[in-house]
């Protein structure tokens, strides 16, 4: 069967189940209607005054009675510095457990070590919002038994609620916890800020283990994960390296190209009609995207504009803007640098939110639906405004869906910032290699060579032109760029589906085929 973007989607995949084709941004999300399957959370009783504390992570995992074919989940708040997920897999492997479904909220450079476990079939299924590095290559070359499922942040919560992900064991890192499992990321030596992604795991998993390198005296306050969701608690030497959370992404770029793109994007926002008191706003943490915040900050001050709230991945740059009074609140599902944790802890206007509240398309209060403006990056865009943030120039998996499609669908103005080409690789395609965010939810693409406005927003194009911006037809811009870079050789792809890209509503928006010439 074909989805609405013309992608051939198998009706059924062994090990995954029945697939629904993507129909359109809001087609399957009907007000007041609950998804056809809707599972309840696990309840488990514990007698009074019994201890949850285990002597080691092995001990705790053993108590959860691991079994072949189980689903294991973790959160990725420690990003590139995560030291917990690999320990869990190593322990399960030593116990001889196999056929694991891994459903971490995302996977980062800290998880390259998963490769041998995928190759030998210990891990056979992966759900994640992002897959990169050596793990991306091994999946792209077709070595994972079943196709990986790439979901959005909001989509992951939905996958728990509808039972597509059925977690058997969740091992959740915390920078402070007590003997009952009250846990947080906001204080302690390894503080990493919000624990927003871990909430759904704690609520829905059959077995929840909190691991911390900082056991505090009961009660651990403030705490994010509460004790009535936690089965076991373990104190370990280290949950990871918090200095690697940011991996250098949260400083304002000095790249002239990124700054130029950001300046144009800020002007687009200012001329969109949304730049006024009460504006809500989200930016990513990388390059041009974060630099947009720098220009908006200056312009908001100059024009005395006070926004309503910022959401999303929060950087210390966003915290500075909150402290300057440019926004009334920050809603934080994920902290992009360790310094943000101090603000989560101390500032009541810096509100830690769950991923459910952030972006779940099937609840009645997702923050992304309150967004005015979001600025997002792209690996590739196409003439229909579709965006790829998951596959690289060879077709290999090397990115993250994250909150991209969640925020783009909810925001009144979704702005994509990207250079028109990167190191000779043109960014504007006839069709992106993989659609993560559909063009229907993208309003403006800003490049250094011009601004492309989705034809569905003619008024916006007129306003931007009037403001003196160089508004160009995306097809013309594509021609201009192609004439400079040349047309890249065709990707070498096989017939095997190695990953499915799930849209936030649970339908399949695209499939990723294996790449045959990966080194």
């Amino acid at each position: 069967m074909k989805n609405v973007l013309g992608v051939e989607i198998p009706e059924y995949i062994e090990g995954i189940g029945k697939l629904e084709p993507y129909q359109g941004v809001w087609k399957s999300i009907i007000e007041d209607e609950v998804p056809s399957t809707n599972i309840s959370r696990t309840l488990k009783a514990k007698k009074a005054h019994t201890s949850k504390v285990c002597s080691s992570l092995e001990d705790a995992i053993e108590k959860c009675k691991p079994f072949d074919g189980m689903t294991v989940t973790c959160h990725h708040h420690l990003r590139g510095g995560d030291g917990v997920l690999m320990q869990v897999i190593e322990i399960l492997d030593k116990m001889g457990i196999k056929d694991i479904t891994l459903a971490s909220s995302s996977l980062t450079s800290a998880h390259d070590g998963l490769v041998p476990y995928v190759e030998k079939g210990m891990i056979t299924k992966i759900f994640s919002s992002g897959i990169r590095g050596a793990l991306g290559d091994v999946i792209s070359s077709g070595k994972l038994k079943y196709p990986a499922i790439i979901h959005s942040h909001g989509g992951r919560v939905r996958d728990f609620l509808t039972g597509r992900i059925k977690p058997d064991l969740s091992v959740l890192a915390a920078s402070a916890a007590d003997v009952e499992g009250n846990a947080t990321g906001s204080h302690g030596p390894s503080a990493f800020g919000s624990m927003g992604y871990a909430d759904i795991d704690a609520r829905y998993s059959k077995n929840v283990i909190i691991v911390t390198d900082n056991m505090v005296e009961y009660p651990c306050v403030p705490s994010t994960i509460r004790q009535h969701f936690v089965d076991y608690v373990v104190n370990i030497d280290s949950i990871g390296d918090t200095s690697k959370i940011a991996s250098g992404t949260t400083r304002i770029t000095s790249s002239p190209m990124d700054l130029r793109i950001a300046r144009i994007a800020a002007t687009v926002i200012e001329q969109s009609g949304l730049f006024k008191d009460g504006m809500s706003f989200q930016v990513g943490a990388g390059g041009a995207s974060l630099a947009v915040a720098k220009f908006l900050r200056e312009d908001m001050k100059r024009k005395s504009i006070q926004g309503s709230f910022m959401i999303g991945g929060v950087t210390s740059y966003g915290v500075d803007m909150l402290n300057e009074g440019l926004f009334k609140a920050i809603f934080d599902v994920q902290s992009f640098d360790a310094a943000v944790s101090t603000s989560v802890l101390n500032n009541p206007k810096h509100v830690e939110i769950t991923c459910d509240q952030y972006a779940n398309p099937n609840n009645c209060g997702a923050m992304t639906n309150k967004l005015d403006v979001v600025v997002l990056g792209a690996l590739e865009v196409d003439v229909d405004f579709n965006v790829n943030v998951i596959t690289g120039s060879s077709g290999e998996i090397r990115g993250a869906s994250g909150g991209h499609s969640d925020t783009a669908s909810g925001a009144n103005l979704s702005v994509i910032v990207c250079p028109s080409f990167r190191g000779r690789l043109p960014i504007i395609m006839d069709r992106v290699h993989t659609v993560v965010t559909p063009g229907e939810s993208v309003d403006v693409i800003v490049t250094e060579r011009g601004v492309c406005v989705n034809p569905a927003k003619p008024d916006l194009a007129v306003a931007l032109k009037k403001a003196g911006l160089k508004v160009v037809d995306i097809k013309d811009l594509k021609k201009e760029v192609d004439s400079m870079t040349g047309i890249p050789a065709k990707k070498k792809l096989g017939d095997k589906i190695v990953a499915l890209v799930e849209y936030r509503d649970g339908t399949i928006i695209d499939v990723i085929k294996n790449v045959t010439n990966l080194g």
């Binding site: 120039s393 190191g423 000779r424 690789l425 400079m484 040349g486 890249p488 050789a489 070498k492 010439n517």
Partner: protein, 95 residues
């Protein structure tokens, strides 16, 4: 023409190409060793561009090593031309 000296042009910066020229004996022919960050997408294109410049300058016998970081065609042409001129000792001005 046959290059007389070792010479180079370009940098290892992104969007540039480093071209190294090594003189070889007359009659050896052309050897072009290319590595590129966009090898999968533009290998043939870059090699064709390099050979085009060598043809235009009538260089038949040379060992050219190119390390490309995604340079556009005009950049590749300019770097190859400059490297060859340097290796021939016919550079002018600031070359």
């Amino acid at each position: 023409m046959t290059p007389k000296f070792k010479a180079q042009a370009g940098t290892f910066e992104s969007s540039d190409i480093m071209v190294l020229i090594e003189p070889v004996d007359e009659g050896t022919g052309r050897q072009v060793d290319l590595s590129s960050t966009v090898m999968l997408q533009f290998e043939e294109d870059i090699k064709a561009t390099i050979n085009q410049v060598l043809d235009a300058m009538n260089v038949g016998h040379v060992h050219l090593i190119a390390k490309d970081k995604g340079a556009l065609t005009p950049t590749i042409k300019a770097r190859v031309e400059t490297a060859i001129k340097r290796s021939l000792g016919i550079q002018e001005g600031t070359l």
